[in-house]
């Protein structure tokens, strides 16, 4: 920042950069202030009870509790991350270590492409193809062979369910998790690969050492994946079934916070305080998002520090 015009350039760009912070601060303020009336009315039970009794007449007769959508958000994103993490790790290994160069380039491009697709496409495909497929070839067989497990304790009537949402979400977050892990994996210095192989490692043992080297990146991928899964809206709204359920059964229809807002916000203005309840829900999403992305970023920084980049 020595030359004068450098300083001017810096000053002229400063407002644009600061706009982002201002927007973020305003957004947080709006979420908090809009949630406040609902939180004031129902207190903590807004987040711990599963009730949805709207009333057009008066606030006195209405009751809301966001437990079901919060539970659905948690369940579907954990399910999605649990499916997506091993798949992302194995695609990274396949692409980086086993595939010939041309196959590798092809796979990488396809996965990058998948990350950029409009999510409504996943939603439609999920509803028309994935849900019936899961219902007939996964849910019913599990329901019949292991009916005593609480996880499989209900009939998958329509197929739209927490499980379907979890599986669809896993497909949607694989490209992100894959991207984070792959970037770290391909930056592992060559000399560590040689060192690991020189110890007489089999492919599996070798890969375990390599994964150990990028452990923070795997954690980061997990956190960012969870964050994305929790915030995904349209696709989930199509396949989750949209019902206020806090059931251990994976085949039951459910709600997530974002699918609830997408489904009901347009009519919420007819019911006193319902909009505010939804803002409270989105505040929960904001907290989850900031927490997971923040931790994910910290992890990514640790990856870079590891090799002194």
């Amino acid at each position: 920042m020595k030359a004068k015009h450098d300083k001017l350039f810096y000053l002229s760009l400063l407002p644009f950069a600061s706009v982002i912070f201002v927007i973020f601060a305003l957004l947080t303020f709006v979420l908090v202030s809009e949630s406040w009336p609902a939180v004031q009315r129902w207190g903590l039970s807004l987040f711990t009870e599963n009730v949805w009794k709207p009333s057009e007449v008066s606030v006195e007769q209405a009751r809301y509790g966001l437990l079901a959508p919060m539970y659905g958000t948690l369940l579907t994103s954990v399910l999605a991350a649990a499916i997506a993490l091993p798949l992302s790790i194995s695609t990274v290994y396949f692409i980086e270590e086993l595939a010939p160069r041309r196959v590798r380039d092809f796979f990488s491009s396809v996965i990058d492409l998948m990350a950029g697709l409009p999510t409504i496409i996943y939603g439609l495909w999920g509803l028309e193809v994935l849900v019936p497929f899961l219902r007939d070839s996964l849910m019913y067989p599990l329901r019949h062979s292991l009916p005593f497990l609480p996880l499989f304790s209900c009939d998958p009537t329509a197929g739209t369910s927490l499980l379907a949402a979890g599986v669809l979400l896993s497909i949607m977050i694989i490209p992100y998790m894959h991207g984070v892990i792959k970037e770290a994996y391909s930056s592992i210095p060559y000399t560590y690969k040689e060192a690991a192989l020189s110890l007489g490692t089999t492919r599996y043992e070798y890969f375990k050492i390599m994964l150990g080297l990028i452990r923070p990146a795997v954690l980061a991928a997990l956190l960012l994946g969870l964050g994305r899964a929790a915030s995904e809206t349209v696709a989930v709204a199509l396949v989750v079934g949209n019902a206020f359920n806090v059931s251990p059964c994976l085949f039951a229809p459910g709600y997530t916070i974002s699918s609830l807002i997408a489904n009901q916000f347009s009519e919420a203005s007819f019911y006193p305080l319902m909009e505010n309840v939804m803002f409270a829900g989105s505040l929960v999403l904001l907290v989850i998002g900031v927490l997971f992305s923040g931790l994910g970023v910290v992890m990514m920084r640790r990856v870079r520090e590891l090799y002194g980049r």
């Binding site: 060192a195 690991a196 020189s198 007489g200 490692t201 050492i209 150990g212």
Partner: protein
């Protein structure tokens, strides 16, 4: 018939269309040190990687010829099995940064199932660190990360990591290239001790003729991928038969 510890027969290596190693043959008996010397770019490191098959990590590398280690045909076996009788130390110290000092030494024996109990493993780790002349300096901080050590200490840690495999053949790629003189002397002493006490066979790649003459029993002089001269160190140091060798020993190439 006498069995050699290392026998390289008519070795050729290409990377893409570049001919890196051109028909090299050497053989050394057990419990000897072979120094592979030559200017940079002469193919020394490539030759080492052809012996332990790390060359296969490089896409488009092609190897022809025969390599035998203690009578075993290196290219006829699973690479991971054959690598278990060799230990390798690289030019830049490369202990695994996510493992402690202890774990860095223990990883090899764990993978190769050399030990049955934690106590045995502790003993083996201690043994390897002692042989690498590092034990006294790290015995009180075995669970520290390796980056707390100096470069020379890290390199000795890498030597201990290789030794913990109980290899018969030790391969070293300019192990003192990035290390201060004091540590370089320590490493050289450790190597001599290994040959004397354990009967280990060593292949050491170096670009300094002084080091080669100082510690080796045999010298192979590589130049532009060709083996210019191979023989007993005493003979080559006193009476080199090739003009290029004379020049290299004088530091003129």
């Amino acid at each position: 018939m006498k069995e050699f510890a290392l026998e390289v027969k008519d070795l050729n290596v290409w990377i893409r269309d570049k001919h890196i190693i051109k028909g090299v043959s050497v053989q050394i008996p057990r419990a000897k040190i072979l120094a592979v010397m030559g200017p940079s770019g002469s193919g020394k490191s490539t030759m080492l990687r052809a012996i332990n098959r790390l060359i296969e990590l490089i896409p488009d590398a092609r190897v022809e010829g025969r390599v035998e280690v203690y009578g075993r045909d290196v290219y006829a076996e699973d690479p991971y099995k054959i690598r278990r009788i060799m230990g390798t130390v690289f030019q830049t110290p490369n202990p695994f940064p996510h493992m402690s000092i202890y774990e860095n030494v223990a990883i090899g024996p764990k993978i190769n199932r050399l030990v049955k109990s934690k106590r045995e493993l502790d003993e083996l780790v201690r043994w390897a660190l002692e042989k690498a002349m590092l034990w006294d300096e790290v015995k009180d901080r075995l669970h520290d990360p390796p980056h707390r050590l100096s470069g020379g200490q890290q390199q000795r840690l890498c030597l201990a990591r290789a030794l913990a495999l109980k290899p018969k053949l030790l391969l070293l790629d300019e192990p003192t290239g990035n290390v201060d003189p004091v540590n370089a002397v320590k490493i050289e002493e450790a190597l001599k001790g290994l040959v004397k006490e354990l009967g280990l066979t060593i292949v050491l790649v170096t670009h300094t003729p002084q080091q080669a003459v100082r510690i080796s029993d045999y010298i192979a002089f590589l130049y532009m991928g060709k083996l210019v001269e191979f023989g007993l160190t005493d003979r080559i140091a006193l009476n080199p038969s090739h003009e290029l060798t004379v020049k290299f020993l004088r530091g003129e190439v």
